[in-house]
């Protein structure tokens, strides 16, 4: 009979009614009451580490949610605009300050650039007025770009010859600027919804006194492109109609790239003396910085947790060392080392649970305070903590229990 068979046969015997063994009479043999200072230190350390980690995860999520709208990233791409730097030498020479088709082709060949699109401008005169609604009249420029470079493209953003209404996409910054100066001109401040409802009149005038008025309607606001955009079909048609030529040069180009902070890209643009519109990358940078800070805090939290668990392992070793004689005798009397390990380590599970639940509650309190008192209930954020924080807490409890059990088991089996 092999040892395994012996085990099986043994397990069949009526003698094996061991599972009713109580830990109660054994418990006093483990001197956990002494050396409680190091135990409390490790509990506090563990609590601080867990709190740091959970708060960092929550703040990481908050930043992501807050800066989602302002992000220039979409589908994993950054969109940045570039212009040529106008110097004293190039002043007045349109050809030198505009991008030609050769330069656009060259950009497209670079591996760090996924796509390039010119921002084409009007070649004729445009005047905008708000009709009778607002006493407002201004000269204007219109630009167009391929739809794939736009962050919001409503289905109404289309134009065909003969159509008298032009759909317009305006930079959301323009609305903000308007709302800043509107009060000083006795104009009402308008919301994005209201602005979309205001019909404006666009008067195009070109060579040989040709003039036509269209009605314009704002169909969307762009966070990405600082311009007044119309469908490409309209601009091409209008340039031909009012100026007699299509736009061949572009003053601004939009670059689609995997990483706007790619050093090769930046070096290339620098060499070419192209200027990057940094404004739109600021959100991205801010987000990167904040996420960097909170990632750092999370790493610090993990380190504190590891230190606390180490301290706890010292405490456990001390407990086992002090109870070494009792433990040895228990094993000599026939107590199973596996049973002893799981029962000794199980005693610390409530402590771990309490620590993580308290840390979770404090994180919730922090999130509530951040949302209500700091962010004034911004709709992008939510008061309840994110599910990833709860998941992290569950994983932490699991990890602590497993490492604790393994440590106790090793110490018991060493006896």
């Amino acid at each position: 009979m092999t040892a395994d068979e012996w085990k099986i046969e043994h397990n069949r015997t009526k003698r094996s009614k061991t599972m009713s063994v109580s830990f109660k009479p054994v418990k006093p043999l483990f001197q956990t009451a002494t050396s409680s200072v190091s135990r409390w230190f490790s509990y506090i350390g563990l609590g601080i580490g867990v709190l740091l980690l959970l708060c960092s995860i929550q703040m990481f999520v908050n930043i992501q949610q807050l800066l989602k709208g302002g992000s220039i990233r979409k589908d994993g791409y950054d969109f940045i605009s570039i212009t040529k730097t106008v110097t004293n030498e190039t002043m007045g020479q349109f050809e030198k300050n505009l991008f030609n088709s050769e330069e656009i082709k060259e950009l497209k060949t670079k591996p760090f650039i996924s796509d390039v699109a010119p921002l084409e401008a009007n070649q004729f005169q445009i005047e905008l007025s708000a009709g009778g609604i607002l006493p407002f009249r201004t000269n204007l420029f219109l630009e167009s770009i391929e739809n794939s470079f736009l962050d919001t493209v409503p289905s109404s953003f289309q134009w065909q010859p003969g159509q008298t209404t032009i759909p317009i996409i305006v930079s959301s910054d323009f609305l903000e600027i308007f709302n800043v100066f509107a009060p000083s001109y006795d104009l009402p401040q308008v919301s994005a919804e209201t602005a979309s409802g205001i019909p404006v009149l666009i008067t195009c005038s070109g060579d040989a006194g040709r003039e036509q008025t269209f009605s314009g309607r704002i169909v969307a606001f762009s966070d990405r492109i600082n311009s007044v955009l119309v469908p490409k079909t309209f601009l091409d048609w209008a340039n031909l109609t009012f100026k007699g030529q299509k736009s061949e040069h572009a003053s601004r180009l939009y670059i689609k790239t995997k990483d706007a902070n790619n050093t090769e890209l930046l070096r290339f643009l620098d060499e070419k003396n192209y200027k990057i519109n940094k404004d739109k990358t600021k959100f991205g940078r801010m987000k990167q910085i904040f996420q960097g800070i909170f990632s750092g805090l999370a790493v610090f939290g993990v380190m504190v947790i590891i230190l606390a668990l180490l301290l706890f392992s010292f405490y456990l070793q001390l407990v086992i060392a002090r109870s070494r004689e009792s433990l040895k005798l228990l094993l000599e009397l026939g107590y199973s080392p596996g049973w002893l390990s799981s029962n000794v380590s199980r005693r610390f599970i409530p402590a771990y649970l309490i620590i993580v639940i308290v840390a979770l509650a404090l994180t919730q309190l922090m999130q509530w305070a951040f949302h209500h008192l700091v962010m004034y209930d911004r709709p992008e954020l939510s008061t309840p903590i994110n599910w990833t924080v709860i998941l992290a807490a569950v994983i932490l409890v699991g990890l602590s229990v497993i490492t604790n059990y393994k440590l106790v088991r090793r110490l018991v089996f060493e006896n």
Partner: protein
């Protein structure tokens, strides 16, 4: 159920020292139901033999097997089961938990694999005259009292073999006889065997086999 020793010799013993022994380097088996008496003066390895049989030490040459299973091949869990279910011992050095009460010392063993109810603890302590010590911390008891606690503790579990390593060294003859009577009753109850190692023969132990170590 059989406890068998083959060519056994402590690794720290010289081969010559086993020449006159009826146990060392011999092939023997102890069967259930036998009452074995092993007699030897100090230093002949009585406690070593008991520790070997109990699976506590492995510093020997030769083999010890329980039911054809080599004791040295038992893992930690199998060894725990062996001590819990099949073999019990009264250590020469008693090995009680010094800070636990007499009752707790016995109960810790009893609850592991209860052969008796806890009421039996009271009954046995009464028979051996230490009933009034049940609540007393064991380190405050006399050696004689502690020895009786160790004996009762060994009788709380089921066993096929009861190992006794000089179990009466601190007891007067009357108390030793009472304890022996109790152990014999309990062994008979289990149809088990006693392996009793001592300095000399005692009259009130009706051994069936006698060995000089």
């Amino acid at each position: 159920m059989q406890l068998r020793i083959q060519n056994l010799l402590p690794s720290f013993f010289k081969k010559e020292s086993a020449l006159e022994s009826e146990i060392w380097r011999k092939d023997l088996s102890f069967e259930k139901g036998e009452l074995i008496k092993i007699v030897a003066p100090s230093g002949k390895g009585k406690s070593s033999l008991m520790n070997f049989l109990y699976g506590m030490r492995h510093d020997y040459n030769g083999t010890i097997s329980y039911d054809d299973h080599d004791l040295r091949r038992f893992d930690r869990e199998q060894l725990a089961r062996y001590r819990k279910d099949y073999i019990s011992i009264v250590f020469q050095d008693l090995r009680l938990f010094p800070n636990q009460s007499v009752f707790d010392n016995i109960e810790i063993k009893r609850q592991l694999n209860p052969f008796h109810t806890s009421e039996k603890i009271r009954e046995m302590t009464a028979r051996l005259g230490i009933e009034d010590k049940l609540g007393v911390v064991s380190s405050q008891c006399s050696y004689g009292e502690q020895q009786r606690v160790a004996i009762i503790r060994a009788l709380m579990q089921p066993f096929d073999f009861l190992l006794l390593d000089e179990p009466f060294s601190h007891l007067d003859e009357a108390n030793a006889e009472r304890a022996m009577k109790l152990m014999l009753e309990e062994t008979r109850l289990r149809s088990a065997s006693i392996v009793f190692a001592d300095l000399e023969r005692i009259d009130f132990y009706p051994y069936t086999k006698l060995f000089h170590l």
